[in-house]
């Protein structure tokens, strides 16, 4: 291993981000990640436990933790909070019956000390389905304007068509980079 490799490796390490994908079950967290990576989405099973995905996006290495959202698994979310740079909260926009549940879980999450300062990207998923709530409606239903503790943004998206997935990811990476690597984003 030459010096150049070492330098390159350490630079890469510097430009790492840890992103946590959370949300109720059936939101589409795993499907979104698979879609972003160009994998097959037709046989995604509900996540028992968690998946880790690492890939390079806009010169940053993203370590993405996708944790199962079933009620029995939610108490384990806290095991993944340490050193999180951003939270991606995925919402099933067609699930009117559980919007309340969704809002409560999200707001409880944001009370967590270990997540303070993390950027929050809300993905209003399943926009390809007719009858889904719009991003504006989701924003109201989840009381996003009431969030003052985190820098947040909501994007309407679709894991099936790929709508806005990259744009959403761009926003969150940009937002974290601005916070963590301000000097390096300026010249790159």
């Amino acid at each position: 291993m030459g010096l150049l490799t070492i330098i390159r490796k350490s630079r890469q390490k510097e430009r790492e981000m840890r992103i946590l994908f959370l949300g109720l079950d059936n939101a589409g967290k795993t499907t979104i990640l698979k879609k972003i990576n160009g994998e097959d989405i037709s046989s995604v099973s509900p996540t028992l436990g968690f998946n880790i995905k690492t890939f390079i996006h806009r010169k940053y290495t993203l370590n993405i933790w996708d944790v199962g959202g079933q009620r029995t698994l939610r108490p384990y979310w806290r095991n993944y909070f340490e050193q999180t740079d951003a939270i991606v909260w995925v919402v099933d926009s067609g699930d009117r019956m559980r919007m309340r549940d969704c809002r409560e879980e999200l707001h409880n999450l944001l009370l967590e000390d270990r997540l303070s300062g993390a950027s929050l990207l809300v993905l209003a998923n399943k926009q390809d389905i007719n009858g889904s709530l719009s991003d504006l409606e989701i924003s109201e239903a989840l009381d996003l304007p009431g969030i003052k503790s985190h820098n947040w943004k909501i994007w309407p998206c679709s894991a099936v068509t790929g709508l806005n997935l990259i744009q959403g990811l761009d926003w969150v990476v940009e937002d974290v980079a601005h916070r963590l690597y301000y000097s390096s984003t300026n010249y790159s």
């Binding site: 059936n26 037709s42 046989s43 509900p46 079933q70 029995t72 009117r96 007719n130 009431g146």
Partner: protein
């Protein structure tokens, strides 16, 4: 430490931990403002003990203990908020109210939202009992042939058949493609959902038969349900019991549905309430002689068909 010693330790630890937990739980029930503090201290101590034992407990026991602690924490929080009233939650409420008052744009938006909700409410099939519902109840809900979401709630003693039929009343509904179903509070009913190009989410079903082809299947808080599925992923249940799974019936075959001849289940159900190596006591595969074969669901013999097909027919 030998494996026997570790096992002995785990045994004694778990049983004494359980005892302390149940003792604390009963004290929490009878607690008042004065004792909250001491109970909180004891929960902390218990937590510390558990952390110290990490590595010497089987992971399942460890998890169970953690779960119990979380439950205790939760009831403590509830007790605190009911007695003290000055918690983070209460504080947040106070902040929220003025913010909605000042945010005038939010008030402007409100009318459009109500309009949307009534519009989307037409995608709901709800509050029906003792009747036969066909795909025609989907007609008139959309002028497009888009993928749609349908919510089905509060149905009892009924047959819901969403399969496309040759009946003229359903001609329009036939071209609609379902891509997500949210189903809740169904009793003593048969739900023939046909092919759903997405996921199905079910809550609170009792004594029902569900027939569907879908990408994902999740069922919560339900009891005595027979599910006949055509699915490429693992169907899952959470907080359910007496669930039986079977393959999608050949008799209701649609062009989209693949039927394989396996006598075994062509998919593997997972029980999220029973995450361990042993088989879940909450579900099993339907035996050959338990499978329903007569799916000719006509309107005339609704009650009889329900009686024949439901897992728990009325005596």
């Amino acid at each position: 430490m030998g494996s026997e010693a570790i096992w002995l330790f785990a045994q004694t630890f778990t049983s004494s931990f359980q005892a302390s937990c149940s003792e604390l739980a009963s004290r929490l029930k009878a607690a008042n403002t004065g004792s909250v503090h001491s109970i909180a201290g004891e929960i902390q101590a218990l937590n510390k003990r558990l952390i110290e034992a990490t590595g010497r407990l089987p992971s399942y026991d460890q998890r169970q203990c953690e779960l119990q602690l979380t439950a205790l924490d939760k009831s403590l929080d509830e007790l605190r908020s009911s007695t003290a009233g000055k918690t983070k939650f209460a504080f947040k409420r106070k902040v929220k109210t003025p913010s909605t008052e000042t945010a005038t744009p939010a008030l402007v938006i409100t009318p459009t939202i109500t309009a949307r909700t009534t519009y989307s409410a037409s995608r709901t099939i709800s509050n029906r009992s003792n009747c036969h519902l066909s795909r025609s109840c989907l007609s008139g809900i959309s002028s497009s042939t888009d993928q749609i979401e349908v919510s089905i709630t509060n149905i009892s003693g009924s047959i819901l058949n969403l399969l496309p039929s040759k009946d003229e009343s359903t001609l329009f509904a036939n071209i609609i493609s379902l891509s997500a179903l949210h189903i809740s509070d169904i009793q003593d009913s048969i739900l023939i959902l046909g092919h759903v190009d997405g996921s199905i989410m079910l809550h609170n079903l009792t004594n029902c038969v569900v027939v569907a082809g879908c990408h994902q299947f999740r069922m919560h808080n339900s009891t005595a349900v027979d599910a006949y599925l055509d699915i490429a992923s693992n169907p899952i249940i959470e907080n359910c019991d007496h669930v039986r799974f079977g393959a999608y019936p050949r008799e209701l075959k649609q062009p989209l549905v693949t039927i394989n001849d396996h006598t075994n289940l062509p998919f593997l159900p997972q029980d999220f309430s029973h995450i361990r190596a042993t088989p879940s006591p909450n579900w099993r595969a339907l035996e050959q002689d338990e499978l329903v074969h007569d799916w000719s669901l006509s309107e005339n013999h609704c009650t009889l068909q329900l009686e024949n097909a439901l897992p728990r027919p009325k005596a």
